[in-house]
Symmetry: C2
Subunit: 400 residues, 2 copies
Amino acid sequence: MLIKDSLDEMKKREVSLKVIKSIIDNDGRDYLYDLTGLSGGFLATEEDLNLLETYIGPAIFEEKLQILGKEHLGGEKIFAVNRTSSGILATILTIAKEDSYVVHFLPEFPAHPSIPRSASLVGANYLEFEDINKFIANFPENTSLVVITPSTMDHKILDEEEFKTTIDLAKDKNIPVLVDDASGARLRTAIFSQKKATELGADLVVTSTDKLMMGPRGGLMAGKEDLIDEIKTKSHQFGLEAQPPSILAMVKGLENYNENDLKKSLAKKDELMDLLANDFEMFEKTPTGIMVSENNLKDEIIFSLKKDKSNFNETSLDKFSNKDFCFIWAMLLLKEEHIVTIPAVSMPGASATVRFDLAANDVDRMDIDILYKRINNSFKKLLNVLKSEKIAKNILFSFN
Amino acid sequence: MLIKDSLDEMKKREVSLKVIKSIIDNDGRDYLYDLTGLSGGFLATEEDLNLLETYIGPAIFEEKLQILGKEHLGGEKIFAVNRTSSGILATILTIAKEDSYVVHFLPEFPAHPSIPRSASLVGANYLEFEDINKFIANFPENTSLVVITPSTMDHKILDEEEFKTTIDLAKDKNIPVLVDDASGARLRTAIFSQKKATELGADLVVTSTDKLMMGPRGGLMAGKEDLIDEIKTKSHQFGLEAQPPSILAMVKGLENYNENDLKKSLAKKDELMDLLANDFEMFEKTPTGIMVSENNLKDEIIFSLKKDKSNFNETSLDKFSNKDFCFIWAMLLLKEEHIVTIPAVSMPGASATVRFDLAANDVDRMDIDILYKRINNSFKKLLNVLKSEKIAKNILFSFN
């Protein structure tokens, strides 16, 4: 094991920061490709910032949020919450009744835990369905809230007809509908040409402003004015609302959002995945890019080394941990290919999964074909570097 | 009534923004005195902002927060929450048990509603005491959490010995203690030379980063590492934690905080109040300044006009609403004395109370004696303006 503790992780990170600085100083920012996708989504200008410091700023951002939020989500009124989970909690606190049912419909289990957790908090019963017939057949009389998640984290999408049917069922019974459209508000509409949740009849919708758009971690709610007003009151009681700096960043994220950019990033992801699938087994898709887990990376390394040399002995890799493979590869990607991934710059304790985020701004400057070649090259170099512990250490801990 | 609806409020605000701009353009920023105290407390530099946009920023701010937070509050670990109320909710969700008691001790009722509300959410019973003997005599066996508020909104301060006694009582019974030190963390220590809550033995403390310091609306928690870790986990489940832009603003607020500045602002408040008390009945103290409510302003106007002219007829004021008095005075303060107060620049629906915040940065540039004269002058002008509806309208709605 080369990276033994937090101190080693910090050392590795310091080397990365020096490499990044030297690339920017010597070649220019355009020669560095930050594919971490971990931008804070805080796009404010200095002017915004000055405004934020005054009594006028928050009111201006709030006005803009109403306009941009309604364009994005529809509905009569917009309300910004600290997180999507905070919005779900506030809605359930406001609408769900003790001993009644909160019924959740989604295209595929598992459900996001914030929904059953919040229901449990108010003493409501929680039921979840992924089969529309079971949902219809088992719908309890005593239901106070229906939650629909039309797009899961893995981008499983509910058919629009089915979505509409579930909303209509609740509306026929006068039960309010909250749509948890975390990434769906963009994925469903931009990629699958579906309607906004409010257009399909939902009373309330909440979306995550950091998913598939350049906004901050936070939740944006829209819906019927009377319900939003009640949820707002409840949120202020428990501190669930978004604060002005986040509202500013949401406004900037919404201004910056463009359906076509999203379409392009998803098309790029598919293109890259198709290219890589010819040579590798290790890549998996993420919502906006591709990734390689520690275990997949190790398996691919062993497979490749065996292919290369049939008498290859796996014990020669024992001096490396699975995380070491990720860290060394991430450092090679940075030093040799100028591609920044999370394991190169992460703080101690972060996941070592190597992700390539294709919604990152720097992707605009890259041909997918070139990105494929760089990833491919760096993996070949990784196989080579693993032959020598000394070289591997040098890659991790030396600036030159 | 001159300000009849939201549109009139917006017009008045637009005039104010023009006046502010012309003062800054013609005389310079130094000739404008913003005493609203409504700064967003967002002191970030452009460099911070660039950092906030990257994967590295939030980790750096989090590191700084641990260091500065411990200096400010003591304790083993720091955790930033979206609001003080969010921190109270997270603590009660984590520690208070169903059917047990949450016991709240404070030097003077009323208690902040977030404590009973959060207790009710987990099905805990809530008891509150302002008398230490009753607190000791009626303390229930089945108590899962003790909350102590050692400094109320009105700056009523718990005696340090009594504070220590209440903490010790809970600790003898192995019951965790949360101190709601919203403004107290600064008021008690800087002004009353008391110890930090953690130094007095509290397991947990939460303070508001926008009270008596230039931070954002938000809560900063400190305490025992194991409890903070549990509260952090619970907060992440329900979206109660502070987001990176707020954490950055907390770091800046803590860096900027200086006990001596606070001491000075409170001394200035007392000095100003003493001067004004010779001439007026209408002023009340706020935590960091003074204020005049709509009703107090009306009473003072009537009293002054009667004093001036014994046959003064109150019906001559019927053309003005109580809010109009505040708006006209605020516009005179701005146009004639270059002092910005909230009613001059507020959005529709805001409170019309006229506040002078003496912790505002611009107070550094003002002699209290001069501030007193400006307030005095503007009130005399107000009495004069109220004689003519036409002039009053002009003050509200005309730039020149």
